[in-house]
């Protein structure tokens, strides 16, 4: 056996060990989160049976007892918790008696609309934030920088529901260019192509409204990050070497200035699955955010817990992805340092 093969065998083993360790941590974190979720959700006063009675205008003992038995709420909390964790381990998200559907199907049904909206808004915000922030950063102190700073501050300070409503007033009510709400035109037969175009039209206003706030954050962050990097020695060196301005910005400044953006974007990406309750409400967008909000008000525990669990898993996965992106952008970040 050559020393090279021993080496590579050792590396495979090390990676496998790291993965196994990571998996154990992952499962432990998920279980702890699931327990916390359970306790939090049940700490709120009232229960689903009371909500249903409250919205029906009439109630009696039998109805409450039936509903509580159906939800499994007639059992003591430790047993309910044990049952819940058992389901989590077997990857069963449970059943919403309120909606008469499995939680998994409810989430899957809402996920595409949510991902379409949040991913579009996120991409829009990230790309334009990086571009605008860089522009502002390299022109620091000039009028274009001042203008961008004012606009991004204004966007940041604007309540998102108000912005959404104003966009509706302008583009739907006044100009009639875009639909005011909804996901797709209902009750009209369409070809796939037409349907895609139709969804695209419905997507514009909510995506732009949602992107506005993030856009402001990324622009501000990118600007200060670019300013930081611009004053460092290696940029002076690059200039002294006679490199062109465009190449300096793209190869040297941008690549180094990106790290804080990736950090923040990675953290905010968790919100992608959480949806955007406010925007989904204003635009009647059938996303996960509204599902969570409704479930909370109705004390629909299985749905709440299911969504929380899925979100926490995705956030953990996204964190891992962020770490990987660090390494691609900045080779100085090693596997060890990141893990």
């Amino acid at each position: 056996m050559t020393s090279a093969s021993i080496n590579s065998g050792g590396r495979v083993f090390a990676v496998a060990l790291a993965l196994a360790g990571w998996f154990v941590k992952f499962v432990a974190v998920v279980l702890v989160i699931a327990t916390f979720n359970f306790i939090l959700v049940h700490a709120a006063p009232g229960d689903p049976a009371q909500v249903i009675a409250g919205q029906s205008g009439a109630s009696d003992e039998k109805l409450l007892a039936q509903l509580r038995a159906e939800y499994g709420l007639d059992k003591p909390y430790p047993i309910q918790l044990a049952n819940y964790l058992k389901r989590v381990v077997t990857l069963d998200l449970g059943y919403s008696y309120r909606q008469q559907r499995t939680v998994a199907s409810l989430i899957l049904e809402r996920l595409p609309a949510t991902l379409l909206l949040t991913a579009t808004a996120f991409t829009l915000a990230l790309l334009s934030g990086i571009i605008l922030g860089t522009l502002a950063g390299v022109r620091a102190g000039k009028w274009s920088d001042t203008l961008l700073t004012i606009v991004s501050l204004l966007l940041y300070a604007t309540p998102v529901f108000w912005l959404g409503l104003m966009l509706v007033l302008l583009f739907s009510v006044q100009l009639d260019w875009l639909p005011a709400f909804g996901y797709v035109t209902i009750g009209v037969p369409m070809t796939t192509l037409q349907r895609m175009g139709d969804i695209g039209m419905h997507l514009i206003l909510p995506a732009v409204s949602l992107a506005a706030v993030y856009l402001a954050i990324y622009t501000r962050l990118m600007r200060s990050s670019v300013l930081d990097v611009t004053h460092q020695d290696f940029i002076k060196t690059a200039k002294a070497k006679g490199l062109k301005q465009g190449r300096i910005i793209i190869r040297h400044i941008l690549r180094n200035a990106m790290l804080p953006i990736v950090t923040v974007a990675g953290m905010q990406a968790g919100a992608l699955v959480g949806g955007a309750v406010v925007i989904e409400t204003v635009f009647a967008w059938p996303g996960l955010g509204r599902l969570i909000y409704d479930a909370l008000l109705q004390r629909d525990y299985p749905v709440l817990l299911g969504v929380f669990l899925v979100m926490s898993v995705i956030v953990i996965a996204l964190n891992l992805l962020t770490d990987t992106i660090y390494r691609v952008i900045d080779p100085r970040v090693s596997v060890r340092a990141a893990s």
Partner: protein, 528 residues
Amino acid sequence: MNRREFAKLLGLSATALSGIPLGVTRAVGQTKGGTLNTIIQPEPPILVTALNQQQPTLTLGGKIYESLLRYGPDLKPLPGLAESWTVSPDGLVYTFKLFPGITFHDGKPLTSEDVVFSVTKVLVETHARARGTFQRIDKAEAPDPLTVVFTLKAPFAPFLNSFDCTTAPIVPKHIYDGTDFRKNPANAQAIGSGPFKLKEWVKGSHVHLVKHEGYYRKGEPHLDEIIYRVIPDAASRAVALEQGKVQLTQWTDVELFDVARLSKLPNVEVTTKGYEFFAPHFWLEFNLRVKPMDDKRFRQAVMFAVDRKALLQRVFFNLGKVATGPVSSKTRFYEKDVKQYDYSLDKAKALLDEMGLKPGADGKRVSIKFLVPPYGEIWQRSAEYFKQSLGRVGIDLQLENLDLAGWAERTSNWNYEMTCNLLYQFGDPALGVSRSYITANIRKGILFSNIAGYSNPEVDRLFEEAAVATSDAKRQELYTAVQKIVVEEVPIAWMVEQDFPNFIDKRLKNVITTGIGVHETFGAVTLG
């Protein structure tokens, strides 16, 4: 530039939207066919009205599930699934004759067996409100496919008022017999016998109903389809109405502060009719177990201290009427000759002084916690109005906000001092009124019971006798007597008979024709 041209400009495919119409999809002038777009909010959990009686479920489910009778604006019975009916002179035997040729949405016939099954097996098991009435049935028989005979254990006057589609929806026996009703997978299809059947329900977006071809009433339904859109934001709902994207609104779809503005739209008209069966009564609820609310004089002082006309004008935007007592003036057996509580701070103060409840150095006589129910804008504003009004006579209200689950938990378990509430009258005092006053209905943990804890043997007796009396004259006499007593004792401070606006597109006809209004089947509704 309109929406289609704008889509082309954006390059969202020049052809993509060319085939999609932008407004109502049908030529003007037709009365047959067409699509009604309207709103449903909040989104119902399921559509089977026998299993869930939340407001939106009942509104939407009224198109899918029908019952034996309908009720006019005066709450007198009209034919529904039953073509005719008779009541025996002793008030014990009710015989209904069904229309021939009624079918469920799956094509199977609806017979008297389905009616007996729905009433005696399903509803007494699943429907809290119906249970109170239908458990009084001794015998239910189906001598032939079109005849149903109910024999009661004892006379119950409002029995004939309990066959509207929200109280007694008829479900198919062949689907539910021998199953666990709440877990039956067929609940997702919502098979009823109404003029419209469920085509598609995209959760969070819309419910799409289409015509039931086998509907038993000739020529009905006129509409081809109804689309209920879920629009959670009030401002977006207003835009939808303004743009003509929806042709009908109901209940709280339009916020009361928007009613005056939207009434000016040229293409719609507004009516507050069609809520007579529900006759929602808005009131202040005391916990009579807590001092000083156990004293009649304190409660009377509250009645004198709140300017209810101003409340109606400023908070309810005049949508409603000042309530004078426990029975709504929109329903039968209302008595207007009762003690009057005109707005008078002096009378209120005098009563409080007489009780020995003197103001302290800071002008406050007593401090009371007030739970604000989470039903929206009106409720918050009302609570603030009560705080100001009662503050003027030295009653200091401490407002506390909760969400629905929290509020329901606290009030139903008597863990409150004061709150406000809205109760429906359900077409008869024995169904919707007595429940808040009789001793037998003081039940901890149950919403809409006698949560105040009021108890008066004379009131119990009068309500009980009125419920079983067989002549309307006798019932009126008993209800008049009980209203006089209750208004004097003020176990609840009645505020407003609340109205709800329906905005109706002028091309729609026959929308509000009965006392249950927007919950009606809509078989007769036309567009054009």
